[in-house]
Amino acid sequence: MTLLMSILDADFMRLAFATGAVVGVLAPAVGFFLVQRRMSLIGDGIGHVAFAGVAAGYLLGISPVATALVASVGGAVAIEWLRTRRRAAGDQALALLFYTGIAAGVVLISAAGALNANLFAFLFGSILTVTRGDLLLVGVLGIVGLALIAAFYRALVAAALDEEGARVSGVPVGLLNVLLAALAGVTIAVSMRIVGILLIAALMVLPVIAASRVAWSIRSNMLIAIGIGLGSVFVGLTAAYYANLAPGGAIVLVAAGAFVVTSAAAAFR
């Protein structure tokens, strides 16, 4: 407890923990439905587009979080459109998004002359860079994201359980897929300050997979995943603070450790 209190003496750590709390809840909550729809890698694809958004922010001189939000939600909806209109198979749509996003990001960031340490913080996360403005934006977006998941929870579960049956009975599955993709985009933009663009997808997926080893129902899987997500963020941030590590890597390694623990627990059950 004393250890935690001393960390929280620093203003930047309070901001990092507050932002991390939002990320720790939102990422597994959205990731739960991505994993169930077998869209685990979509977060990675959107992350690459978010990178282009960050670069555009630098170039235009406006908040990189805001431009990343626009880019990642736009990218997420585009990939869903490509997938459902059968313009490209699922993995081809992802590949298009991946490479176009990263290439656009590199071009824009070099045009802005911003190939520097700040960029590194966006790629791998940083506990020093969260501003009060970021926290406000992350807080608002996080609450909106969680409210949408709570409101559409049953419908998202119905579409994940049996897509065709839901479609036949009149559930607008396409609309729900777009909503889910947009939520994934919001999650990426919200999380990139802490976890980093290159690792955020892992925080959406690993807690869910870890939780599924010991869960007994959809609800328990989601709640345990959120618990693992929150725990990973707090432990990872603490380790990053004391050992001077990139927080994104530390957080994701804790989540991966949680998978090992739950798998072992399931094996001994």
Binding site: Q36, R154, A155, A158, V168, S169, S217, S220, N221
Partner: protein
């Protein structure tokens, strides 16, 4: 007004040979109909046209009096997909599966209300899974899992219950039990049932009508009127 009405329907998948030719079918409210035929004979395609998932190249398909592909009020349909398998990796309880079937009736937003929970519990009870409602679905046998999916379809209080190969991969005893369950549902609820299967032995004695599909409808009538050789699995039907 018939529940299902197909008139002179032709269908082929893009670039493929004709799957169905000149199919005319009328299903009245409250009928229990088995659609049978060999694998590849076109019965699943016929079902997809009935449900509005495919549009015929020629002819018309109507459901509840409306064009099937643009039907509003789809919550009137309860559908058990072929080889109903979970689309998700997460553990899921029987109650969660069945509650998902309530979404079309209740709407997309918000939690289930008390009357919804009553309907979910009633559907679970109807299929005989009341004591397993909280159990993870994966702990149930294939036959009992199918019952959970039937309960899911029932939770939406459908007027038309469509089951695509519900007995596939289920042992003979469970097939008999499923057929008895459907007969009971039909007589209690007077719901229209379309039962699609490559074999019809289990339901033959319950259904009002049997439709055999092989590129088109080759038999449509009382199962008792079916020529004996059709019951012989070794017989090669023309």
């Amino acid at each position: 007004m018939p529940v299902v009405e197909l008139q002179h329907v032709d269908f082929a998948y893009p670039g493929g040979p004709p799957v169905l030719r000149d199919v005319t079918l009328r299903v009245e409210q409250g009928e229990f109909l088995a659609v049978a035929g060999p694998n590849g004979g076109g019965k699943t395609t016929l079902l997809r046209i009935v449900l509005g998932l495919e549009r015929p190249q020629a002819g018309t398909a109507r459901l509840f009096g409306e064009p099937a592909s643009s039907l509003r009020g789809r919550s009137r349909i309860g559908y058990l997909v072929q080889r109903a398998q979970l689309g998700i990796d997460s553990p899921v309880t029987v109650r969660e599966v069945v509650a998902a079937g309530r979404v079309p009736r209740r709407g997309l937003v918000g939690p289930l209300r008390s009357e919804d929970r009553v309907q979910v519990a009633r559907a679970i009870e109807r299929v005989g899974l009341a004591d397993r409602a909280s159990a993870p679905l994966s702990t149930l046998s294939g036959g009992l899992q199918q019952r959970a999916f039937i309960a899911k379809a029932l939770a939406g209080e459908p007027e038309l219950l469509v089951l695509d190969e519900p007995t596939a991969g289920v042992d003979v005893d469970a097939q008999e039990a499923l057929a008895s369950l459907l007969e009971e549902l039909h007589s209690d609820l007077r719901v229209t049932i379309l039962f699609v299967s490559h074999e019809f032995g289990a339901v033959e004695r319950f259904v009002d009508r049997l439709v055999l599909v092989r590129g088109g409808i080759v038999f449509d009538g009382d199962p008792a009127a079916l020529p004996a050789h059709w019951h012989d699995p070794s017989h090669v039907h023309p």
